[in-house]
Symmetry: C2
Subunit: 343 residues, 2 copies
Amino acid sequence: MQPRPHSTLEDVAKAAGVSPATASRALNGTTQVRPHLRERVLKAAEELAYTPNAHARALAGAAHRTVGVICHDVSDPYFAAVAGGIMRVASDHDLLVTLASTFRDPEREVAYVSMLRAERAAAILLIGSGFENPDWERALGAELEPYLKGGGRVAVVSRHRSLRVDTVLPENRAGAGAMARALLDLGHRRFTVLAGPRTLTTVADRVGGFRDELRRAGVALRPADIVESAFTRDGGYAAMTEVLTRGLDATCVFAVTDVMAIGAVAALRDRGLSVPADVSVAGFDDIPIVRDLTPPLTTVALPLQQLGERAIELALTENPGRRRRIHRMAGEVVIRASTAKAL
Amino acid sequence: MQPRPHSTLEDVAKAAGVSPATASRALNGTTQVRPHLRERVLKAAEELAYTPNAHARALAGAAHRTVGVICHDVSDPYFAAVAGGIMRVASDHDLLVTLASTFRDPEREVAYVSMLRAERAAAILLIGSGFENPDWERALGAELEPYLKGGGRVAVVSRHRSLRVDTVLPENRAGAGAMARALLDLGHRRFTVLAGPRTLTTVADRVGGFRDELRRAGVALRPADIVESAFTRDGGYAAMTEVLTRGLDATCVFAVTDVMAIGAVAALRDRGLSVPADVSVAGFDDIPIVRDLTPPLTTVALPLQQLGERAIELALTENPGRRRRIHRMAGEVVIRASTAKAL
DNA sequence: CTGAAAGCGCTTACAG
DNA sequence: CTGAAAGCGCTTACAG
């Protein structure tokens, strides 16, 4: 496995004719080193193609420049946008980012936290909806607790009720409520909601916010009007198809996620229905692509990149009081051409 | 920084009343340990919320379970798809993935390789087009060389002429040629090509393949027919706008990337032109979203997820001969509704 | 099967 | 400013 091991600090020191301590100081610039020694060390390092062993360094007490990010799926556009923000900030701070996809498996999430803990990541970021699941909450807490006690920093994007950690909170409930109002204003009274799994807090919040606002206007959402499916494009397609098969009686479809809305529009089109002439469609998130769809999608715009930026900034920033900081981010309804006035 | 340090192997050993060596063996299952001792160790570890320090482990000689991935931009859908494949395989092998975005800055790429080398990543994957730039090639080689000598594994996706490492090679040239033929078959004779920066090998290959096939049919592509722009959606928009401003005389636009094609379609639409009635548009890559566009995009389909899977598999797989292995992946022309017969 | 000991490659008080 | 030494937390020959 190690045909020819990497050169070490000792090699460099020897080549430069100094002690390892001096070589270390010259390389790190921690202390003054006389210029001519410094030169020799740098030259030797260069010639030997020396790279410090990050593990030895971390073990010896230097801060470890890595932050761990756990998401559901790297290839989801929602996460891609959030990750963009994280990477930008990380790069400014010279941090390496370790990324893990859980594919929405709670156990895998816990396992990754454990691995990140083992890596002594400077911070761990949990991106995306938590689960409403006591077992998972307990297991996750059991990993996070000792990590925090050991000086680790944690921040999450989206609601994790049981986690007392810094949080960036998209206002899902309010955003969905605002969307309901906007759609009511367009004259719609009969809705179909395409939802993801109920165990996700994000789904619960968005569906709840939407339903409550409708109720306030005297419009009821019956259980049958809410279709649960996977939190993906194909999930949206499947849910919409199911609705179509048993007969659509709504004038407007609200998908709790843009990605699901995209699937829904595809399903509608495959059935020969036109958006918004036959039925209006709205989503949530404002992932970059929806602007370029035809028709462009009405949605609740979240500042996705900022979500990522704030999360890593929270984690990187000292939290003296050690109290939980919550950074709320409002969503804004953007009406585009996928929704029309109800007939 | 360390209010209460993590518990260590020694803590566990002490609590279990055994030596650290035995605790280590019980935890790792490397050697037989008498069941009752094993039990005690496991119980102690559980109670102390023990997690081994990955750095100490790596330093002491255990294989480090991390692979580094360097890409241009995590939030690019092309990369997101490739990354999906990488993550899947990584998760099967219980590997952690460290991801870095270079934002197409050659220097940053070299810096990241250096950091990954310092981390003693088990493998480094370079995803995306290389640059045609001797300085960069030299600098990158200087980092990769010692990494390889030290037992590191490297694989790349896309062409990196100067790198003698395992390669997954999309057949850009052939794919672009096939697209040219398909468009000629539709009757088109006047083309505009939306290209990314010429210094990217991928751009050179795709433009070259397209041009050569056209020439073979007696159709010339003049320099003015090729517009260079950023390798992004906005780059495609800008390039298309520029063409429109000085007057479009082509019946078909070929963007070297789907992402650029999406921008081009948006620009066309903003000018009131219809695709494909007024002008046909074709892309390259077949990122997932293009199927759901209206009209769906004609493109050269690449098995994006497989690109990522093959790359990490190549890197993880022993290479006895130490010769460069090249895994070619063909692209397939998929005609969708964004291209029509020329009038 | 188990333990004492050496060693992985650094950093950082501690002397000088 | 520089060096000898201890120590970070593991793993793994080496004895027993």
